[in-house]
Symmetry: C3
Subunit: 194 residues, 3 copies
Amino acid sequence: MNLTAILPVLDYGSVLIFALTGALVASRAQLDPVGFIFMAALTAVGGGTLRDLLLGREFVFWVARPSYVLMAAAAALLVFWTAHLFESRYKWLVWLDSVALSVAVAAGAGVAMDGGFGPVIIIIMGVVTGTFGGLMRDVVGNEVPLVLKQGELYLTAAFGGATAAVLLDICGFERVVALICGGIVVWTLRAGSL
Amino acid sequence: MNLTAILPVLDYGSVLIFALTGALVASRAQLDPVGFIFMAALTAVGGGTLRDLLLGREFVFWVARPSYVLMAAAAALLVFWTAHLFESRYKWLVWLDSVALSVAVAAGAGVAMDGGFGPVIIIIMGVVTGTFGGLMRDVVGNEVPLVLKQGELYLTAAFGGATAAVLLDICGFERVVALICGGIVVWTLRAGSL
Amino acid sequence: MNLTAILPVLDYGSVLIFALTGALVASRAQLDPVGFIFMAALTAVGGGTLRDLLLGREFVFWVARPSYVLMAAAAALLVFWTAHLFESRYKWLVWLDSVALSVAVAAGAGVAMDGGFGPVIIIIMGVVTGTFGGLMRDVVGNEVPLVLKQGELYLTAAFGGATAAVLLDICGFERVVALICGGIVVWTLRAGSL
């Protein structure tokens, strides 16, 4: 499998799932539909946007392909019409966030690998892409940032998974395999701490 | 009228009015004159700065023309010396913010139109330019973000106006006319909800 | 002394000291070691990152030289293992922050001078580089932003020092001398207000 080909798949995946978590925060804050779209889009593309600006990529990923934002908007409206059916929105939020974190760490590390950056920058971009969308969601939506919750391996999970991906890459594994394993490490650590 | 020629006018307008709102938040937080300038400048150029970074413009607008920031500083000092004369600073804040929002949405959408971007990006840049300066002001100044107030059409107004501008542009209206109408739609929706 | 040669020294200095303050906030929030590293790195490189993005530099300083981030991480772990020895972490935080502010204002103004920007942009970059790392630390770490504390010359100190550096530069002093004097002005004003 080709690394460059799989990167948009990872970005679409993390955008979709983070969008759902952003919409759940909008639901807890009782916003209107446009508020759902705003929080979903902010959460969905926040981390990847920061990654692209920091790496000096020619275009921010969703400016080049606006379909990312349209997907986030669709996810927001889906949650808007169904959120009242959920029993515990916060539980859904935390679990979906753990999946989004895993995919986004892989997406961030993958873009940095593909750009030819060294191990330190690859790890940082994994952590930044994974955590900043959720951090913006929590700061704007006035929730206690998940990053800062004590006793939960949030940053540690992101850091551990990104490091695992780098190590597997250095050991000669295919990059796509290294990223997938990295994502699994993130999720195992994060879910195990919940 | 020429679109490229009118864009700085819109940017100057939104910078001036947003600066006044930032200074009013500084007044409510009882800051010193430099604090007024900081809050005014942050609010005034925050949204347009994010727009320029996201679109990958060669220079952020106020780095290319520092007079924008000087104007924001002048507005801050004006408010510093007169704020005690106002009876209700919060009311002034909200109403001035509604005007600034309208002008900034037009400014953001206009820059994206001028850069040759498609409808989705034009709408997003209108919303981002209109809302992020005020959002940074509220997060840093510890006010409840206007974006998140329930029952007030803040994001909806920005979104509706930007969409109107795009539709009028597609229907063949002159871009300057489309932007002005878009701004009027923003203000009508926002003021009507107050 | 050569300006271009001294700029990395100033960046390293401010990164190291700001990292210590970020780790102290992590300690007050009782985070785990990775949380210490996250807060230290965010504080250490936040202001300089924003400066580099705003000035459109080809690479953000720590993306070009990841050793900045490694140093911040080392400082974070040092604080993690020793923080329990300090009697008043908040006092250390405020005093270290005053030194970091002084060095970072000089670093920010120096980069803008070196890039050939005018006086207004030099002053703004001094203030932005000096204050935004600490601002992000306080917003994310849920502390009252030092920038906004009443009766403390925080922004005024940054602004005064950056202005002093610009004036000395205009008067024909060597740029390295102007920056060092500017940093001393920042620290004198800030420390004098504590």
